[in-house]
């Protein structure tokens, strides 16, 4: 076969942008190659919905990395505090880290937040259920949206419940006379829990956006992206909370 005939369709296929894998031309039969990407395992279509999804996931990943560092800074503040006590009149060291009783409702809140992570994951997976998505793609109906919506609603409700529970915990501490500026421990407690709460409030907004987007967005892949990215944000906040909660419990001695 003349070379021009075999070359032409390949070039057309390669016009658009995406990942920088080796083009099929380099896949020589002798096995030389040496590319770092396995061309065969790539799904077809470089502008496809999957590539768009990956791109958004990467952006969410880098934003969450920044957010993780932000939290790490807040927490590290309390590991590097230099003045952690004083010497009293009888020459013994008195720590200024006064333990506080973790309000028991936090255990309930933690369970609620973990449950909300499960519902968020179920909602997310509905949007990737292949048969349903095919049906939505063809415009026959919206089974994926129909199935995901209640789970997303449940996530929002549970998230709201968690924030309500946090509010009650803060109230209980304030009633004990522990506020933001009472002592280093209460300072730490309020700082990390309130910052996390603000992040969750933002997360509720994002989930609400995803819920609306599911019904309003016309393109299936955009509906997937909205639900997928908001679910990953929600998972990250759940993981952050698990870490913070363990830290709070371990630091009460």
């Amino acid at each position: 076969m003349p070379a021009t005939f075999t070359r032409h369709p390949v070039e057309v296929e390669r016009k658009d942008t995406g990942y920088g894998g080796k083009p099929p031309l380099d896949r020589r039969p002798t096995g030389g190659g040496g590319g770092d990407d396995n061309w065969d395992s790539r799904p077809s279509g470089r502008h496809g919905p999957h590539e768009l999804l990956i791109r958004y996931r990467l952006a969410v990943l880098s934003v969450l990395t920044a957010d993780f560092v932000f939290f790490a800074v807040l927490i590290s503040v309390f590991f590097v505090r230099p003045s952690d006590g004083h010497i009293n009149a009888s020459e013994s060291f008195v720590s200024d880290w006064h333990p506080l009783a973790i309000p028991p409702i936090l255990w309930l809140n933690t369970a609620v937040l973990l449950l909300s992570a499960v519902t968020a994951e179920i909602a997310r997976r509905q949007l990737f259920h292949e048969i349903d998505i095919m049906e939505e793609w063809l415009g026959l109906g919206r089974p994926a949206v129909r199935r995901a919506a209640p789970w997303l609603l449940a996530t929002i409700a549970l998230g709201g419940l968690f924030l309500g529970g946090q509010w009650i915990a803060w109230q209980q501490l304030v009633q004990q006379g522990l506020t933001f500026s009472t002592n280093p421990n209460s300072n730490f407690f309020f700082l990390v829990t309130v910052t996390h709460g603000v992040h969750l409030l933002l997360g509720l907004g994002i989930l609400l956006f995803a819920l609306i987007a599911m019904f309003r967005f016309k393109r299936v892949e955009l509906r997937q992206i909205a639900v997928d990215c908001s679910a990953w944000y929600w998972h990250a906040m759940g993981i952050f909370w698990a870490f913070i909660f363990v830290l709070l419990i371990c630091s009460q001695h």
């Binding site: 076969m1 070379a3 075999t6 070359r7 390949v10 070039e11 390669r14 016009k15 658009d16 942008t17 995406g18 990942y19 920088g20 894998g21 080796k22 083009p23 099929p24 031309l25 380099d26 896949r27 020589r28 039969p29 002798t30 590319g35 770092d36 990407d37 470089r46 590539e51 990956i54 791109r55 990467l58 952006a59 880098s62 934003v63 990395t65 920044a66 957010d67 560092v69 932000f70 800074v73 807040l74 503040v77 590097v80 505090r81 230099p82 003045s83 200024d96 933001f180 500026s181 009472t182 002592n183 280093p184 300072n187 700082l191």
Partner: protein
């Protein structure tokens, strides 16, 4: 590049050039923002220099500078230059100009996020400049804003509203940088064209990858620190407030849970040191690319250069303590930070030696961008050599806060950084205007700038060794310890004025060449990377720096876009392609 003719359907000037998501238009906006900031920052530095030599001179419209005005000038000069020039131009304007093209993408991964980052940066600049116009004026605690002085409004003029505006501006800048970097990271990872494998990326793109990753880590630390300092100032927290603080003879209210100013130092420099690499790594990548082009030979040890770039990024996160040797930090920590700092000299030297190796018997073409690249290398070496000196805690105990440090970072960060920006602007100018900048004016600009920049910053080493401190409004006065340095100071001021005056040549050249410059045509520098590709978003099958014999028997270079279009028969025997496909 000709602008399309205006028709009723085509969007107007504002839609095309200002309120747009087009990355090239945003690059121009970023460049203009950087230009505004560099003009303001340079004017401030000239006032600083003049005041040091003639402290009693009355400035028109203002009068004689008060000591606190001097500190405000230093603070705003540093902030404008570090954030709005040395970060914005290499890490926002240049990637917007060429990053998508260099990876073969049609557009950024998130054009609207990218545009939002510009507008937040602009807001940040306006908030910062507003600090000049609030009661009591701009903040005076330096670009590092060490507490407790930055935490109490009573600490001095400008530490009230001015300091709040400074912190708000920095917080906005952090958010803008994080947004822009997320976009660049995703663009590099997920929008590369076919065949643009990791080992075929130009070294500028590798630099932007590393500096964007550093931005994500470092700027979120600064954001947290700025938020905590704002909370200390307004919401009664005490992260950075020690107990027993006395300001101007007045005992300040003791916080319930005393914090530590040292914490700010740690957080600030955990940001501040990676920031140095954020602003210089793009310049290093550009130097490699331009040296390859203007010596007509490939980058020596491409993979080694990539590894050095990555190592600089990783090590750069672990050296922040060398800014704090005399802060009261544990001396053992100082030794450790001294060691990591000397370790970072290894990959940096590897890059410098590679550049020098490329110059050795290279077929050098001394165009203006090449001259500025050589200037960059010269400053990078001259300033870099004092790095390991300052990395010794014992030596730093003497040299800290003297003009020796000022000389060090102005050579290695400011001058090297600015010369690489000039190299980039002279080199990429045809992408924006379709014309080349005037070579004669460019060379004049280069030589005056080079000599004047050394004249400005090199004598500062001697002033610093003589013990001259930073941040002192005057040397003259009742104590005459530094009277012998006045002639040096005068020389520095004259050199600085010359340096600033030489930039008029540059501005004139930019304006003049946009209309009268020589038409560049396609690929005026005979370059290989994809931003010069005449076709839309091309594919590639070759490395980024194929110059010299590697390009083939009859060619001097093989552009990345041509490597794929060339005859494919060398890749395999006829018919192999059909045989390789399973179907």
């Amino acid at each position: 590049m000709t602008t399309p003719p205006q028709t009723a359907a085509s969007p107007g000037f504002f839609r095309r050039r200002i309120f747009t998501t087009d990355h090239r238009a945003l690059a121009v906006l970023y460049l203009l923002l950087g230009l505004a900031a560099v003009i303001a920052g340079t004017l401030l530095s000239l006032v600083i220099r003049i005041h040091r030599v003639w402290p009693t001179l009355a400035f028109p419209l203002y009068g004689v500078l008060k000591p606190e005005d001097y500190l405000a000038l230093v603070t705003m000069h540093g902030t404008l230059m570090v954030f709005f020039v040395l970060t914005v131009v290499p890490q926002a304007a240049f990637p917007n100009l060429v990053l998508p093209a260099q990876v073969g993408a049609e557009r950024m991964a998130f054009p609207r996020l990218n545009a939002a980052a510009f507008w937040i940066t602009l807001a940040s600049l306006l908030v910062l400049l507003a600090a000049f116009f609030v009661p009591q004026g701009a903040p005076i605690s330096g670009w590092t804003s060490y507490p407790p002085l930055s935490a109490f409004a009573a600490a001095g003029p400008g530490q009230g509203a001015g300091m709040d505006l400074w912190l708000a501006s920095i917080a906005l800048f952090c958010i803008a940088s994080l947004a822009a970097s997320a976009n660049f990271l995703v663009t590099i990872v997920a929008r590369r064209t076919h065949g643009m494998t990791w080992t075929r990326l130009p070294l500028t793109v590798w630099s932007w990858l590393v500096s964007s990753a550093l931005t994500v880590i470092a700027f979120s630390v600064l954001l947290a620190a700025a938020a905590m300092l704002l909370a200390d100032r307004h919401f009664g927290t005490s992260f950075f407030l020690p107990a027993g603080e006395v300001i101007n003879g007045i005992r300040q209210h003791d916080p319930a849970a005393p914090g530590s100013p040292m914490l700010w130092l740690h957080l600030f420099w955990f940001f501040g040191h990676p920031e140095v690499y954020i602003s210089i790594l793009p310049g290093m990548g550009l130097a490699s690319s331009l040296l390859a082009n203007f010596t007509r030979r490939p980058v020596l040890g491409y993979r080694g250069m990539v590894a050095a770039t990555l190592l600089i990024g990783v090590f750069g996160l672990g050296v922040w303590g060398h800014h704090m040797f005399v802060s009261g930090m544990n001396p053992y920590a100082g030794t450790a930070f001294g060691l990591t700092t000397i370790a970072i000299a290894v990959p940096s030297s590897a890059e410098v030696l590679t550049w020098l190796g490329m110059l050795f018997r290279g077929r050098m073409r001394l165009t203006t961008p090449m001259l500025f690249t050589l200037g960059f290398i010269s400053f990078f070496i001259a300033g870099g050599l004092t790095g390991p000196v300052l990395a010794q805690p014992a030596l730093d105990a003497y040299l800290h806060n003297t003009f020796f440090v000022v000389a060090h970072f102005h050579l290695v960060m400011a001058m090297a950084g600015v010369f690489s920006l000039f190299a980039g602007i002279y080199y990429w100018y045809p992408l924006l205007t379709g014309r080349l900048m005037n070579e004669t004016l460019g060379k004049l600009h280069f030589w005056i700038s080079l000599i004047a920049a050394y004249g400005t910053f090199f004598p500062m080493h001697f002033a610093g060794l003589a013990g001259e401190p930073r941040h002192y409004a005057q040397l003259a006065g009742p104590a005459e310890s530094f009277a012998s340095l006045i002639p040096v100071e005068k020389g520095i001021t004259f050199a600085a004025l010359t340096l600033a005056a030489a930039q008029f040549i540059f501005l004139f050249n930019i304006v003049r060449s946009s209309r009268r410059g020589i038409l560049a045509g396609e690929n005026p520098w005979a370059a290989t990377t994809l931003e010069w590709s005449p076709i839309g978003h091309p594919i590639t099958e070759g490395g980024p720096y194929v110059y010299g014999p590697d390009a083939g028997p009859n060619a001097d270079f093989l552009p990345q876009w041509q490597s794929a279009a060339s005859d494919i028969s060398h890749i395999g025997p006829p018919g192999w392609e059909a045989a390789a496909k399973p179907e």
